[in-house]
């Protein structure tokens, strides 16, 4: 016997199956079941009267009982097509070399590094939500941390591919690792590019460990609910036989807290190290001391925009409006606004530095190349996307308007891509010598690989939504426990009045 036998009176699938709309009816996914949310409570962390049982059922059923919908099939077909495009683009680079891309002298870093930094920046919001907000006791993080961590891992997968492809002599990629070789050579440990190898591999491994450790109790919950013996065995394997023992929880919680503690400096170090790739050089526009904090803030800014881009459709499609409430969306918007302001401060400092450094190359880059050069459109678009557009989030009315949030998040994602474009291409395309100036034009394969990474990301994310619990169930139970506890204290065991008790859950 692998795991406990399913309890026959646990649930009656036929009953819930009967109420479920026809799987092909895509519109059903855009309707929320009426009992889902109580409109007066949509600013709470949990917007309905969930019990331990109803919450587990709600999230567990998303993974196990939801029929494959037409919408999901169409989306995964699209994602798989893009993934195919990625495979072809990668093969092209492996067969023909990086010459298929638009990079050349003077712009030797193009889409590959732009997209690498863009994807890895997106990942940072996941670790911020799962680690930093945990340490700060922000209990609203609970319902969004699972998918935000998944987003981190998948984004790092997309990002990690770019430098590996960019090195071009792929057969020597192992030289970057700490492996003995017959030449007696060592990696150049004094180079930020070598630091990247360690930073990104550590970031990926630690994020994946953190994610897995969080998943174990939830996989055990799914194992205990599964009725299909094969599915039960698979979840049992994933949960490593977790049996919810108090002794296990004790060590688990100690580990989880320390993992959060070490992930916090880790996430700050990763983007700082990536910014050193630029700041260590003497290229005008890169040699700026503000780069590490400015990059980290930009990463969190882009990451929260991506969390919103994923959360808004997810809560509608999977009926999660009761656990991913307006409070979550509004808080994400606030974090976006705050980090956006740090980024704007970074832009202001770059302009100040262009003038105050009294270096003619810095001055020329800032005031001529960026503001008036052939790529000036990208600089001004960047100022609009990251500087002006998010300012609308100062108004509560707009923070609570979902279409506005979605559009602002899209604009910010574009803006953060433009930021890397401005930093990389604009600094490189006009060298110290006007005779070596040039323009950068991405090729078809540049764009195909970028589109392909969306295929990889979306495929992984859609599979994640299908088979794993998208909300951290065990942590949500703690929230419910806390809520019941405060109600108990307020009403002396009288549970029927939820109108007051729920306010205590807020922080």
């Amino acid at each position: 016997m692998v795991s406990p036998a399913p309890n026959p009176n646990h649930e009656t699938p036929s009953e819930s199956e009967a109420k479920r709309p026809w799987p092909g009816d895509w519109r059903s996914h855009f309707r929320t079941t009426p009992q889902d949310i109580d409109p007066s409570r949509e600013h709470d962390v949990i917007a309905s009267d969930h019990t331990y049982e109803s919450l587990t059922k709600h999230i567990g059923d998303l993974a196990m009982r939801r029929p494959v919908s037409l919408g999901w099939l169409v989306t995964i077909m699209g994602s798989l097509s893009l993934l195919g495009l990625m495979v072809i683009s990668v093969l092209m680079v492996l067969l023909k070399g990086v010459g298929v891309w638009g990079i050349n002298q003077p712009v030797a870093w193009g889409f590959d590094i732009i997209n690498f930094v863009w994807w890895i920046g997106i990942g940072h919001a996941g670790t911020l939500i799962s680690a930093i907000l945990l340490l700060l006791h922000q209990n609203w993080r609970t319902s969004i941390n699972r998918f935000a961590e998944a987003m981190t891992i998948f984004a790092v997968c997309c990002a990690g591919m770019y430098p590996l492809l960019h090195i071009n002599r792929h057969q020597y990629a192992y030289w970057m690792l700490l492996l003995p070789n017959s030449m007696g050579l060592w990696p150049q440990f004094r180079s930020p590019l070598e630091w990247d190898v360690f930073a990104i591999s550590t970031y990926f491994s630690v994020s994946a460990l953190f994610w897995f450790v969080g998943l174990v109790p939830d996989l055990a919950a799914l194992r205990d609910r599964a009725t299909n013996p094969l599915v039960r065995r698979l979840y049992a394997l994933g949960s490593l036989g977790w049996r919810n023992s108090a002794l296990h929880w004790h060590r688990y919680m100690a580990l989880y807290l320390i993992l959060a503690g070490i992930s916090t400096p880790l996430v700050l170090s990763v983007h700082s190290i990536i910014s050193y790739d630029f700041a260590y050089s003497q290229v005008p526009g890169w040699h700026v001391t503000i780069f590490p904090p400015y990059f980290v803030a930009g990463a969190v800014f882009a990451g929260f925009a991506f969390v919103l881009l994923l959360a808004i459709p997810m809560r509608a499609l999977f009926h999660l409006k009761d656990v991913i409430t307006m409070k979550h969306l509004e808080n994400c918007a606030k974090v976006m606004l705050a980090t956006g302001l740090i980024v704007v401060y970074g832009y202001a400092m770059e302009v100040f530095f262009g003038w105050y450094s009294a270096t003619k190359y810095e001055h020329y880059l800032t005031f001529e190349t960026r503001m008036q050069g052939p790529y000036a459109w990208s600089y001004w678009a960047l100022i609009f996307c990251n500087g002006l557009a998010p300012q609308i989030l100062w108004f509560k009315k707009f923070r609570n308007h979902i279409p506005t949030l979605f559009i602002v998040s899209l604009i910010v994602s574009v803006g953060m891509w433009l930021e890397r474009f401005v930093i990389i291409v604009l600094s490189l395309h006009r060298d110290y010598l006007p005779s070596s100036w040039g323009m950068y034009y991405p090729t078809f394969w540049d764009c195909a690989l970028y589109a392909g990474t969306f295929g990889l990301f979306m495929t992984l994310f859609l599979l994640f939504c299908r088979v794993l619990p998208v909300i951290a169930i065990a942590e949500m139970r703690e929230l419910i426990h806390h809520k019941l506890h405060t109600q108990h204290a307020l009403h002396g065991g009288d549970h029927h009045d939820h109108g007051h008790g729920h306010k205590e859950v807020k922080h």
Binding site: M1, V2, S3, P4, A5, P6, N7, H10, Y52, T56, L178, L185, W186, Q188, F189, R190, E194, W195, F198, S201, T202, S205, V206, L209, F210, F212, V213, P217, A220, A221, R223, D224, R225, L237, L240, G241, W242, R243, N244, S245, A246, L247, W249, H250, R251, Y252, A254, L255, I258, L259, I262, S263, P265, L266, S269, Y276, A474, E475, E478, H481
Partner: protein, 183 residues
Amino acid sequence: MLTKPISPLFGYIAEFDTPEELIAASRKVRDAGYKKVDAFTPFPVEGLSDAIGFRDKYIPTLMLCGAIIGSIWGLSVQVFGLGWSYPLNIGGRPIWSWPNFIPITFEATVLTCAFTGVIMMFALNGLPQFYHPVFDVPNFDRASTDKFFLLIEAKDAKFDPIATREFMDGLGSERVSEIQSEL
């Protein structure tokens, strides 16, 4: 004649509806002097380890050791590689250019600390272990949803098949079940 041997008793397990009842019962069990006690809860219940008298500081200590080993490894491999095995002179800068070695040392520290913690958490918990006698307890699949269980193992020095059963029946639980060990 061959008869099926009677499987030995693994312990008694009581089922509760709320964490508060479980903690109250756990305190009684601890005060009665039982040591081989465990509880099963759908989420980590605050104060439960204390209530069943369980103290364990291995994880933080081991993770600290992992972090120290990682930092020594990270720093020494760089100093050995670039300072002794194949000294690289970059623009006449000193061989012992320690600020350059900080990022990799830091990443190595975090990496080994995290791996030590996760591996040791599962190892100390005896996981993966896909079968355990408690999985045979009726309703035990609810331990991952909304039920709270309290176990006293037969290995306990104070355990007595009759007295312990009577003691557990008096804890005010939903039901008390008997667990058999697999032979």
